[in-house]
Amino acid sequence: MTMPDDKFDELLDHVAAGRLDDLTPEQVTSLDTHLNAAASSSERLADVVPEADSRLSVIAPTPTDAEWDGVWQRIDSAAPARESAPRVIGRTIRFWQPLAAAAACLLLLIVWRLSPVQVPPGWEMRLSDHVVVHEIEIFGDDCVFVAYSDNESGSAVIWVFEAEEAREGA
């Protein structure tokens, strides 16, 4: 449905004045359709310059050079200190640190595993007392006996007579 020309002009006056808020959504839609349909009608807006917002009448002054210098100085002082060493060397050292740590740990592990078990000194030959023999297994034709000491210490020696010796004894 086309819009009457007077109606169209009225709406276009609102647009040219920058008062889009005065239009209803239906009016905006109708206006848009009309402008798209008739290319000549949009020529009226070609030279339109929107009025400046009165709230923007005051333009803030640009910072002076001294003010800019102060800003940069504050930024530099807040930034972390840069490394004095060249970036390439710093990266190289940090790359080798974990590898060196890993190699040291691996070497420690190998040395520990290969090192002989440390046994406390002091194995003194003393026979046990109160020996309790739970079981004895002899294989073949050998004989065995348990010889307890004459004293009351209860020490014992488990002695095996090999078959040949046992026969000689018999």
Partner: protein, 162 residues
């Protein structure tokens, strides 16, 4: 960001190595964490001389009284560590071998199992096995096997644990 990743890697690696070391050291120990110090001595008893190794002097008289041997020589001494239920195996002399398994430890007493074998024909022939309870740190003797067919020297095995 690289520094954070680097630090995290080091921490993870350090923890992994510690876990690995602890696990590695646990070999030979049972789940309860009990490990035993074991000592096995191979003694040659002979009638051909009266020499006694210094380490065996405390028991020389005892052995001479019980058996007809006059000389006692400490041929080999092996000390090691094994977990409860784990076996410590050691070569003695002349193809003899001893396997010692600590079974239990209560107060001043320790229960051991020992098996003696001899290498014959490429195999370890079982000679004897025994289980006994003794005082920790003291020795138990078992022996009587002829070391060499050409001589009358016999092997005595002394075993202790603590």
């Amino acid at each position: 960001m690289c520094a954070a990743i680097h630090d995290r890697f080091l921490r993870i690696f350090a923890v992994a190595v510690c876990v690995l070391l602890v696990h590695a050291r646990a070999d030979g120990e049972d789940k309860k964490g009990q490990s035993y110090d074991i000592s096995v001595w191979a003694i040659r008893a002979t009638k051909s001389n009266t020499q006694v190794s210094p380490e065996l002097k405390p028991i020389a008289q005892e052995l001479k009284k019980r058996f007809k041997y006059t000389g006692f020589k400490l041929e080999r001494k092996k000390s090691g560590r094994a977990g409860e239920g784990k076996t410590l195996s050691t070569d003695l002399i002349a193809g003899f071998k001893a396997k010692v398994t600590p079974l239990e430890r209560k107060g001043s007493r320790v229960k051991l199992k020992i098996e003696v074998t001899k290498r014959e024909g490429g195999k370890d022939k079982r000679l004897a096995g025994t289980t006994f309870t003794i005082t920790r740190g003291r020795f138990q003797l078992l022996g009587g096997w002829r070391i060499d067919p050409k001589s009358e020297d016999v092997l005595i095995v002394a075993v202790s644990a603590r």
